[in-house]
Each structure stands twice: as structure tokens, then as C-alpha cells.
Symmetry: D2
Subunit: 273 residues, 4 copies
């Protein structure tokens, strides 16, 4: 593996108990009964085509995420990227996606309005969404949350992530705090609606704080936003980060999935209880 110092740091850490064993058994039956969670990992996939980012994520951020998700046998994982037709997010793909993981940055303005609207529609109908790092400023997140999604930023700081909702399923198995040796600082005021839960709060060495892990919902769909993951640092190799994304996929899966655009409905007949 690459990126010496930081990976040494990772190697030296006490391994978390992933409860992988339990999930493997559950997954065996999920496969049998056909109710696996279908995940699509979407990545812009531009930064990783050149050094130094290529060195960190030789198969792209989506490749890295897919790899660590695959140890969870309850998941069926596909990937899609910006350069595919319709960004790889056709009606057909979204219909077959339970949870969409989304990383974007450089070309958010060029992202198709039509595809963004389609993704928003599917979230409102129940599809789960895990939006990572700079995806806060994607057309999808702005469309779903309505606020400006603005924040303050600075490269190359260290972050300490605190769990501020340890009772939440996304926090399961995560320690009370963990460190990210190098990360892009995102700082308050983060212009988001009041989150359903603020599960993680970040402390940054440059004197800033951030609501780093937040849940929302839009329509029937559950949304988790998670700040860590700047492309220049190997953040998605950190065990706690991987565990949080896995937990989020399980939490985000639809409780109900509508099959058509939501619309206002007239009540014509009335029966009282």
C-alpha cells in the first residue's frame, strides 16, 4: 500500500470489531431470499486520472469504496462515473438502486440538470443517498435540501471526528472519537437545514468545527452526508470511515419505495372510522 506515514498510522491502530461475521451470515440468507441491498457507487472520476491522486486511488475513489463494501455480503455493488452516457445514472440504473453513494467535485456545474432532477426524484420516492465530501455542493444535494450548502474550507488540516449521536445505527461500532491525520477542513457556518441527526462533529487543527456527519430525509428517501474524503488524502482507507459508510448504506435503505413521481391527490370519497 501507498502513502507511507499515514498508512503506518493506520497499521498501528487497534482494529475495530466490524461484526463482519454477523453480517456475513445474514447476507447468506439475504442472497437466498433475494433481498440484498443494491448499491450504486457514483464517482466523478477525474482527479484520480492524474498524479498524485492516482497513486492514492489507482482504481478511483469508487473502486476503493466498492472494494471495502464488498466485504459486506448483504450488498450488491455497481459503479458509475461522470463520463458514462447520462453519467451512468439512467432511469433503469436508478430503479435498480436501493442506495446511491455519490462523490463529486470539479464538474458539478457541468452535471446534467436532467440527470440531477432524475436522481432527486428517486430519492424523494425512497432511494437512499450517501453524499460524500464535496458532493455537498452538487446539484443533487442543493436540489434535495434547498439551502445554499455553503461552508468554509482549507486544505491540509488534521481532523478529530466526535460521535455526537452514539445511539444512532450509523454510529454502531464507531469509537467516541477518531482522527484523520490529513483532511480538507470544512468549517461552519455550514448552510444546511436543521439535520434530523448530527451524528459526527469534526474538530480541525486550524481552529474550526463542522457538522461532519448529518442525516436528512426528502420525501420517502433517507440521506446521509459525510464530510471526510478529500481526494488528495487516503481517507477512504481509514477503518472507521469505511465502517461509517457501510452503516450508512444499511440505514439508508428504503423503508418504502414509490414507483412513480409523487403528486398531490384529491380525496373523493370519505369513510369515517
Amino acid at each position: 500500500k501507498v502513502y507511507g506515514g499515514i498508512f503506518l498510522y493506520l497499521d498501528n491502530r487497534k482494529q475495530m470489531n466490524y461484526t463482519e461475521e454477523n453480517r456475513r451470515k445474514t447476507a447468506y440468507f439475504a442472497r437466498k431470499r433475494g433481498n440484498m441491498i443494491r448499491v450504486t457507487v457514483w464517482n466523478e472520476y477525474l482527479h484520480e486520472k492524474e498524479e498524485p491522486v492516482r497513486h492514492i486511488y489507482p482504481n478511483g475513489i469508487h473502486g476503493c469504496i466498492k472494494e471495502f463494501l464488498q466485504t459486506d455480503e448483504e450488498l450488491v455493488i455497481k459503479t458509475a462515473t461522470f463520463e458514462m452516457p447520462e453519467h451512468g445514472l439512467t432511469e433503469e440504473v436508478l430503479k435498480q438502486t436501493d442506495v446511491l453513494i455519490f462523490w463529486s467535485h470539479m464538474r458539478q456545474n457541468e452535471f446534467s440538470d436532467e440527470v440531477a432532477a432524475r436522481v432527486c426524484s428517486h430519492v424523494r420516492q425512497g432511494m437512499g443517498l450517501v453524499a460524500l465530501h464535496s458532493a455537498h455542493f452538487s446539484k443533487i444535494m442543493k436540489g434535495l435540501l434547498g439551502t445554499s450548502m455553503t461552508l468554509r474550507w482549507k486544505h491540509g488540516e488534521s481532523e478529530r471526528v466526535f460521535c455526537t449521536a452514539p445511539y444512532h445505527p450509523i454510529a454502531e461500532g464507531i469509537p467516541e472519537r477518531f482522527d484523520i491525520p490529513k483532511e480538507e477542513m470544512y468549517g461552519e457556518y455550514f448552510d444546511i437545514p436543521k439535520p434530523d441527526d448530527v451524528i459526527f462533529t469534526g474538530w480541525f487543527s486550524c481552529g474550526e468545527v463542522f457538522r461532519s456527519g448529518c442525516t436528512f430525509h426528502s420525501g420517502y428517501g433517507k440521506i446521509f452526508y459525510f464530510q471526510p474524503g478529500h481526494e488528495e488524502y487516503p481517507v477512504y482507507y481509514i477503518p472507521e470511515v469505511q465502517k461509517i459508510i457501510k452503516n450508512a448504506v444499511h440505514w439508508c435503505k428504503p423503508s418504502v419505495r414509490k414507483t412513480s413521481q409523487l403528486d398531490c391527490a384529491e380525496v373523493k370519497e370519505v369513510t369515517l372510522p
Copy 2:
């Protein structure tokens, strides 16, 4: 006054204590020191041009709202309607508006995208918004809240409005419950984000419930959505409804008002405390 039976109902009710006296005195000084709340009442103003709605609101819904707001001397009130150039909501008008009251229905799809974006921008920068009745489905509310804003509806039911957050300033002076003899039913599931507060909950005679009065925020702006107010019934003459809208105007006024579009900002220099 018009619309017999229902107004008789109104006449027979015990008058609420509006604490008008107090506000009058405060207002005297607000005027002197130049910090009045500047309100723009916006109305589509189409239904009221024909019977039977003209009979109920001869000066339009905006005229009725302006009239009862005028007893609050802390407010400076203007009106604007759909048919004015740029719907009467130019950059200049919005800059000089602290709180926008907004009623719309028939022509929501024809409302200018550009003006809708401009209004959303001003709300995110701090302008208060009171959205009434069918305005839930306006481009403005959909843009600010991000959900589908869908609901169920039926004409001609009676509603009982319960106060479910009596500690909130918008509920000040409002009884624990009050009745609206005839209203358009709006019923759940109302597809909104989790409200900051659900101040009023409606019971409808046809066996439905609704979160009838909800607060949200978007960026620096405060939003109050209030369901009562179908054009065919004289709902805006009901004292409690008037009092709630007045309270909402006071609550919605900006705590801070940004003067330019919000944007992400790079932190360049760091001083630690």
C-alpha cells in the same frame, strides 16, 4: 360584512386580546428610530376577479391581509401581484422587504423561474417568508425545502386547529384550539422536511389530520408555512388566523441579512484562539 352564516359565527365569538395596545406603543418608537418591519404581501390575485370569490375578498386576499396587518403600527406594508412586471418582485422590492407573505395557486407553473430563484436567494440571505395555503406547491417553497410538497386535499370540510407548540412566539395569544367552519382539507402524508417546529396541527371533519402550521429555515431566513386560507371561504377574516399571521411576521423578521449571494469561502490565514 359579507357571507352571513360564517360571519355570524365570527361575530358571536369572544374577542381575543390582541395586545394591540402594547404593539402600538412599541411601533411609535420603531417609526421614530427607523426600524419598522417592512412587509410585502404578494398575491396571485386571479380568483378574486370573479364571483363568488370577489364577494369574499373584494380587494383581493392581499388587500384583506394588508388591512388587518395595518393595525400593527410596527409594520410598513406593501402589496404585489402576479400580473405586475416581474410579478412585482424585483431585486429592488426584495431588498427592501423584511418579510414576504406569499399566496399563490392557479398559475404556479407559469410563475417566472428567474423571479422564483431571486426570492429563494433573498430568503437564504435572511428575508422572512410566510407561505400561505396552496403556496406550499409554489416554485419558491419547493425550491427552498427540496421535497415534493405533495399532500391530499378535499373542499368544504371543517377544521379544528390545535396548538402543538404553545411555547412558540407564533402561538402567543392563540387559544389551545380554534375552529374554521369551512376550509379546504389538506391531509397527510404532507411531504415536507422535518419542521423546526410544528406549531399547529389540523383536525378535519372528513377524517384527516395535517401539520397546519410549520416553521423551517433556509440559510439565514426563517419560513412559516400556514395551511388555512382557501380562497372560497372567508378564512382570513378569522381573528385567530389574523393574529397568527401577525405573530409570524414578527417572528420571521431577519436576525441577520446578508447583502450578497452566499458562497463557499476559502480560509487563507489561521489564527488560533
Copy 3:
């Protein structure tokens, strides 16, 4: 079965799909790997010793709840009642309880302060709590939520329950609305803290509304309060009510369980990330 008309009503309804099949398979492995959810159903068990309540719940409300929970093979279910020593809620029992279901009414004032404090402590350390109907006014719920828990009430009304958070796991498989033919009305203003989620809202025939299904948390523990279940009506035989309680048990299970009383901790050594 008993109570004619109402059960006929139940018999005539379309059966819900409980996804029992899926849970059975998961449970098989849960048992094998030793991570079943350990449920204690606590009931005051006084009303059911005399007619007419005995006729409805011949084995007590706890017996009825235990019976329908048993179809979920992931659960290991015990019961306890008021008359047992320490109300059957010893330190040992609570330590081995993942989720406590709690029904109480007549003798809430006589409930031991010590046992109530012990239960609150375990909830704060992570034990899940499903509080049913009149248990809103138990020492446990008052202690955990801090408000007066007061409400308005009236016997013998019909209720229509609306799902106002369909994205929530507790709502999984529950229709948008369902009816309870006869229930004790509980009405607003219900003096609770702002719930984490209001999953169900009740409409009552006597012109009242209620936040009938609410989630909270206290410390590390998750709490679900559910209004339906007056002892004089066979409410716990209604399929949707049973399904909601089952879902709640799964949702309430601890994400983390502390093994000692929570306390403030001094930070002595500092390492920055």
C-alpha cells in the same frame, strides 16, 4: 376469539405482509450466533384480573404482546408484572434486557421510586424502551423526558392513525393510515419534549388530534412511545398495532450498551490529532 363486532372488523381486513418469512430466516442465525434481541414485556396486570378486561386479555396484556412477538424468531421474550418482587425488574433482569416494553396505569404512583430510577438508568446506558398508552404518565417516562407528560383524554372514541414519517423503520410495512374502531382518546396539548420523530398522528372522532407514535432518546437509549392500547378495547389484536410494536423492538435495540452509571469524566492527558 372474543368481542364480536370489532374482531369481525379485524377478520374482514386484508392481511398485511409481515415479511415474517424474512425475519424467520434471519432469526435462525441470530439464535445460532447468540445475538437474539432479549425483550422483557412488563405489565401492571391489574385490570385484566376482572371482567370485562379479563375477557379481552385472558392472559394479561403482557401475555397478548408476548404471543404476537413470538412469531418473530429473532426475539427472546420474558414477562414481568407489578406484583413480583421489585416489580420483576431487578438489576439482573434489566442487565439481560435489550428492549423493555412497558404498560402501566392504575398504580403508577405506587411504583417503587428505586425501581423506576433503576429502569431510567438502564435506558440511559442504552436499553431500548417501548412505552405503551397510559405509561406516558409512569415515573419512568416522566423521569426520562422531564416534562409533565399531561394530555386530555376521553373513553370510547374511534381513532384513525396516520403515518407522518413513512421513511422511518418503525413505519415499515404500515399503511398510510389505519383505523382503531374503539380507543381511549388522548388529545393535545401533549406535554412532551420535541420528539426525534413523530411517526404516527391520531385523528379522533370527538374532534381531537394526538402525536400517537413518537421517538425520543435519553443518553444511549432509544425510546418509542405509542398511544394505542386502552385495556377495555382489544387494540393489541390489531395487525398494524402488532407490526408497529415489532418494528419498534427492532429499532430500539441498543447500538451501544454502557455497563456502568454514566458520569462526567476529567480529561487528563491531551494528544492532538
Copy 4:
């Protein structure tokens, strides 16, 4: 003034615009019409009797708070301390208090259970509460919020306070961030219920974060908890801290005040709307 370095720091800062002028005018009429806000500042008043704390707060923390509140002419301010009979919080005093400011630390366990219950009762009936610093662990706050109120702590760190809800009235006039040169660190996980609003979030030099300014409600009463204010540092002389406490007093004042203990009420007669 005392405490050199830190006060120099204060002297060197740009003065905030307190909008004192406006409040003075409003106050003139509030006095005339008899609707001043009646504030009771309660302080344990033990630490300040000996050095070095006496040097910082020669008239006690309550004396300091009273002094800066007095520039707000809408307020009528009294003080009370631990050593007074019934801690100075008799039924009579509380009845005449709109907002109680509360600082406590050393003798929280010795605080009378009866008086604590009385205060909680008045908050639930509508009295506002501003709980400062170590008062998080008072019988009053534990009783009102129900959680363990535990946290992590360490002396002598610097804090940067961020405004994470700039739209809230308590944040009015407060900059996006401000520094406290020396403060007792309070760190997460802070075991509180989900706050109605997290208005301020603290960054600490020792690598910790904290939800430093939170609102809650209990019954009809509004509560603001504010972390800054360890007795050994002159925190209550900082202009932003003073402004926040003033804003909180205005925000906390009752919207409604019940005059008797809250209780469940039977509905006997039904009229439908």
C-alpha cells in the same frame, strides 16, 4: 479592572453594536405599561468568597451578570443565592420571575430537592430558564431534561465559539465566531436530549468540541443552556457572552404562563367544529 492579559485582550477588541439604543426606547414604554421582563439571577455564590475568584467577581457572578443586564432597561433584575432561606427561590419569588438565570457548581447535591422540584414546575408552567456552565449538572437541569447531562472536562483551555444557527434570535448581533482566551473545556459526548436548536458550537485548543449553546423546552417553558463561564476566568466580562445572555433573556420570556401545576384533563363534553 483585574486579570491583566485577558482584559487587555478584551480592551483591544472592536466593540459590538449592542442595539442598546433601540432597547432603551422600547424599555421606556415597557416600564410605563408595566410589561417589563422580570429576571432573577441565581448564583451559588461560594467560589467568589475566596481568592482568586473573589478578585475576578468581587460582587459574585450574580453581581456581574446583574450589572451588565442593567443596561437593558426592559429588564427588572433581582438576585438570589444558595445561602438564603429556600435558596431564595420561594414560591413567591418564582411567581414573580419571568426568566431565571442559574449558575451552580460545588453544592449541587446539597441543593434542596423541594426547591429544585418547585423551579422545574415553574419552568414547565412557562418560566424561562437560562442555565449557565456547570449548572448543566444541577438537579434542575437533570430534572427538566431527563438525561444524565454528563460530559468531559478539563481546565484552562482556550475556546472558539461558532454560531451554528445564525437565524436564531439568540444569535442576533453575535459574530460568526468569537474567542474565549481561557475557559474550562467541556467536551462531547454531552448527554442531552436532541436540542431544539444548537446555536453555538465550541472548539477547544485541547482537541475537543462541544454543543456550547443549546435551546430546549419543557412544558410551556423555554430553556437556554450556555457552556461558557467557569468561575476562575473572567468570562462574563466578554461582550459577546453578555450579549448572548441578554438575547437569551428576551427569547426565554414566557409566551404563556400557567398558574397551576399541569395535569391531565378529562374531556367531558364534545362539540364538533
